[in-house]
Symmetry: C2
Subunit: 257 residues, 2 copies
DNA sequence: TGTTATTGTCTCAATTTGAGACAATAATAC
DNA sequence: GTATTATTGTCTCAAATTGAGACAATAACA
């Protein structure tokens, strides 16, 4: 109760100062609710994800955030990802809600706050328990312009198979996101969102292989993809190499639900 | 802010009175977070779900609830479903999080509160915005003992194809649950959770047909199910009818992750 | 003993998938 | 020019899976 009293006091003061939806004190945000996002990119034949490294801590975490009181949940996630990546229309899927009590580890957040020279009293809103709604996002690596947040040194790509250890349950979240991505690989048109608008069949295959973690037979993959009828063939791509040039493809537009 | 002040006052009073985790004033619960559950049962060849009807309103809703501050999210849902159905070890899956601002319709809750003779001041915690985590559950119809909650006349089975109109976005939640159930039909061992421990192949097929909403070819279904190697065959079931008696089957035990 | 409705299994065709063969390039070496 | 090399697009054939029906094996009853 003491926590809530002080929390309220903070909010009152923020309100008086004309602040709104301020990360400083949590005012204007839904309580106890956070999101974390696993942003997948594809580069160099490898599946990558975005991680933040907090100032002076050596702690790594997924990009995440909070939901404003007058904001749709999905919109909040999009807003956060736009801040981090600069991308406006981002492909997003919900993944899982992590809501165990055990994920509440205020010491970790306190460490981060202190390392940033911020006071971390017991009643600080960030030290409260949060349920986290996990999302995964698919982005075209080349379109992304990474921007760390106020608490972080960096927001950078990491090979999904070579991640540092992450705070809280973020490693579990990554595993769940990858698992969901794999399960959705056929039903949602996942491949295209990780590539430029136009791509070769080989590139598309490499995306599938990186996601599934297995090798795929070239001819079978090509037949299957073309058989789906969702690819449009464009002009050839001349790479300058001494061999037949591959066609470029794009995904036919389908209305998003 | 006025809302929050009064909310706090309520909580303080509740605390002083020694109350804890009381639905009356929301004290002891995580804020802004709710869950709704779509409980599937199978009877008479039809897929059914549980609905609550609120006192004196004619309003129907999914069974739902809130998460205590010291309680795992999944445990909260299990607790709520145990109260409603009497079932202890219930099969549960997360479905989707509904977090649009548009689903915040305090008038509806106010109607329900007033119809129950309860005061519904603007700052009542139930009139605040909630994000709802949707679950679906699968239960054996025969094991269920239905119990309405304090605000409801009834908690009853409804044919999934003949639902009354539901409050808020609960119809959307049902649709999403059904869609998820269908998608999970093959990957999770869904069928068995809706049937008694032992069942005939025909009954299992009827479950699949009810979920998918299509007819399935008997011989193909039987071959596929037996081919999975997850069924154990038991003694025959003599129904007293003039025809060959079918075998009973059960699902082999597999460790739950 | 025959009849009826249903079940378990088998068969054969149709379809999909696995695995490789092979001709068609695009640049380079000669 | 012509041969060489690596890669691509398509085709073929076998293997595996699925669709659709045939059929014998019941339980109970007339």
């Amino acid at each position: 109760m003491k926590i809530e009293l002080l929390l309220l006091k903070n909010r009152l003061m923020a309100k008086k100062a004309g602040q709104d939806a301020s990360i400083a004190d949590g005012e204007g945000y839904l309580t106890n609710i956070a999101y974390d996002s696993v942003v997948f990119g594809f580069w160099g034949g490898q599946l990558k994800i975005l991680l933040m490294e907090y100032h002076n801590t050596g702690l790594f975490a997924l990009p995440g955030g909070f939901v404003k009181r007058d904001e749709d949940l999905n919109a909040a996630v999009k807003r956060g990802l736009k801040e981090r990546t600069g991308i406006d229309t981002i492909y997003l899927e919900q993944c899982y809600v992590f809501g165990d009590v055990a994920r509440h580890q205020p010491e970790v957040l306190r460490t981060i706050l202190k390392a940033n020279g911020m006071p971390a009293p017991n009643e600080h809103w960030l030290l409260d328990r949060f349920i986290s709604i996990a999302y995964y996002a698919l982005v075209n690596y080349n379109e992304v312009v990474l921007v760390p947040d106020a608490l972080s040194d960096s927001c950078t790509w990491y090979d999904v198979n070579k991640l540092p250890s992450l705070i809280l349950d973020h490693s579990t979240i990554v595993a769940k996101a990858l698992q969901t991505l794999r399960a959705n690989l056929d039903s949602k048109i996942v491949g295209g969102n990780l590539l430029p608008k136009q791509f070769t069949m080989k590139e598309l295959q490499q995306v599938y292989e990186a996601i599934l973690g297995t090798n795929i037979r070239r001819t079978t993959f090509q037949r299957k993809m073309l058989g789906l009828g969702i690819l449009k063939r464009h002009q050839k791509k001349y790479s300058g190499k001494a061999h037949k040039a591959p066609y470029m493809y794009s995904f036919k537009k389908t209305k998003q639900p």
